[in-house]
């Protein structure tokens, strides 16, 4: 069983956080760049596609043949299964440099995050009920169509963040939620995420990012924004921006300075605390009586 390390600096000074650093070959350099510009809470993101993590039925047949063919050709949907060599959600990658970085910078915390890309709520339910999901501190979902978005907001499934793939093949095309559903999401403490580094790669991701922000601000979230976070999604060290530059990006998204600062500080801390309570909160306390000397009252 994995050793549970209690969270540190829970009551410490508020700090900036970036909850979307994709695991990749340059992950360590991205983390070092993020720490250098002032982020203290980081989360390494492991994306999985829900259909590739569903338990496979035993036996052969057309689906098994199709799966083998996809594994040979290296199809997108089976990439995760091919890497792990097994069905289901992979466990988080534990690497030595994470402990070294946290040892070097005492006030930095590096977490593990799972992102599930899905189009059917039943697939998401099956994936989130697997054992390895409990090993991650933060759970995020990426709905790929409008029905998936609505159903994941209304459902009683436990996750922390709803994110959008603004650059890749899983772009949702239309975000249409009303204020009531936004209120439901806020009450469940589910946050919406906006990533900024894909917008450096072209005009279409930039347009998608501004579209998401506009929809969240105008239609979904209330006047006082309670559940939006801004993260990088940076796959290279030069895509990380300092908190002060993120304030400038917030102006582009239509948020004022105070709101942007809250989106990269308070809301991030709330997500981390929620993840900690999910992981460490299930415990019991025993009260045992101590020996008491009988007092003789004269």
């Amino acid at each position: 069983m994995e050793k549970c390390i209690p969270p540190r600096s829970v009551f410490g000074k508020q700090c900036f956080g970036d909850l979307n650093i994709p695991t990749g070959p340059k992950c360590r350099h991205v983390c070092e760049a993020a720490i250098a510009v002032g982020y203290k809470l980081l989360a390494l993101n492991t994306p999985v596609v829900a259909t590739s993590c569903l338990p496979q039925k035993p036996g052969g047949g057309k689906k098994a043949k199709k799966r083998k063919l996809e594994e040979k050709t290296g199809g997108i949907l089976s990439a995760t299964a091919a890497q792990t060599g097994q069905d289901g959600v992979p466990p988080p990658k534990r690497q030595d440099w994470i402990a070294d970085l946290m040892e070097k910078h005492k006030d930095v915390r590096i977490l593990q995050r799972l992102t599930v890309i899905f189009y059917d709520i039943n697939h998401l339910q099956t994936v989130l009920s697997q054992e390895n999901v409990a090993l991650y501190e933060i759970i995020a979902v990426v709905p790929t169509n409008h029905e998936a978005l609505v159903s994941c907001v209304i459902s009683s499934l436990v996750f922390d963040v709803i994110s959008f793939d603004i650059e890749g093949p899983h772009w949702i095309n239309k975000v249409k939620l009303n204020r009531q559903k936004g209120k439901v999401a806020a009450e469940k403490d589910v946050h919406f995420e906006i990533t900024y580094s894909p917008s450096f790669h072209g005009d279409e991701p930039l347009e998608n990012m501004v579209y998401i922000a506009d929809r969240l601000k105008e239609d979904i979230c209330t006047r006082k924004i309670k559940n939006i976070i801004i993260s990088s999604g940076a796959s290279a060290p030069d895509e990380i921006r300092s908190p002060q530059n993120v304030l400038g990006i917030g102006y582009l998204l239509g948020f004022d300075e105070t709101t942007t600062r809250i989106c990269i500080r308070e809301h991030v801390e709330r997500i981390v605390k929620k993840g900690d309570s999910r992981k460490f909160g299930k415990s019991w306390v025993a009260f045992t009586p101590t020996e008491q000397k009988e007092k003789v009252v004269e």
Binding site: F200, D203, P237, R241, S242, N245, V246, G248, L252
Partner: protein, 155 residues
């Protein structure tokens, strides 16, 4: 009659090419920075953004050895320009990233901040030295920075 009010962004840049960043490779020109900044504003805010920010937009100071530059703009265009800075990726054909470290109302304020910031960096480097000999050589090199000599260590 009120005076024209400006804002100065103190920005640190880093050249992120694959080669070792030597002094020549890391040198960029102020005119190229201004051109890249204007293109970024045009891409994000269109013709209106360029027109509003053009007046008073200037790279006031650039230091290629410390990789610090001061960008001046009108106060009304400060949010516009600071929102365009994160999206600059190339200057003079080199892959460059900018990081805003301070926003000041006058050059004096920016200078005062820069002195404190660079002193803090020097103190961190001084603290990371392990032997007395290394510290002596470090202090000797700092004393050569005439007319400004910086004293570090416990005072």
């Amino acid at each position: 009659m009120v005076r024209l009010r400006h804002r100065y962004l103190v920005t640190e840049y880093s050249v992120t090419d694959g080669r070792d960043s030597e002094a020549d490779n890391a040198a960029i020109r102020s005119s190229s920075v201004l051109e890249a900044l204007t293109n970024s504003i045009r891409r994000l805010h269109g013709v209106h953004g360029v027109a509003v920010s053009k007046a008073g937009l200037l790279v006031k100071y650039i230091n290629n050895s410390t990789q610090i530059l001061f960008i001046r703009m009108r106060r009304s265009a400060c949010s516009l320009v600071s929102s365009a800075i994160p999206f600059i990726r190339q200057v003079d054909g080199k892959s460059v990233t900018f990081r805003t470290i301070y926003t000041g109302a006058t050059i004096n304020h920016c200078n005062k901040f820069l002195v404190k910031y660079q002193r803090k960096i020097l103190q961190e480097q001084y603290g990371s030295l392990k032997t007395d000999l290394q510290r002596q050589y470090f202090q000797r090199d700092l004393d050569k920075l005439k007319p400004y000599s910086v004293q570090l260590g416990s005072t």
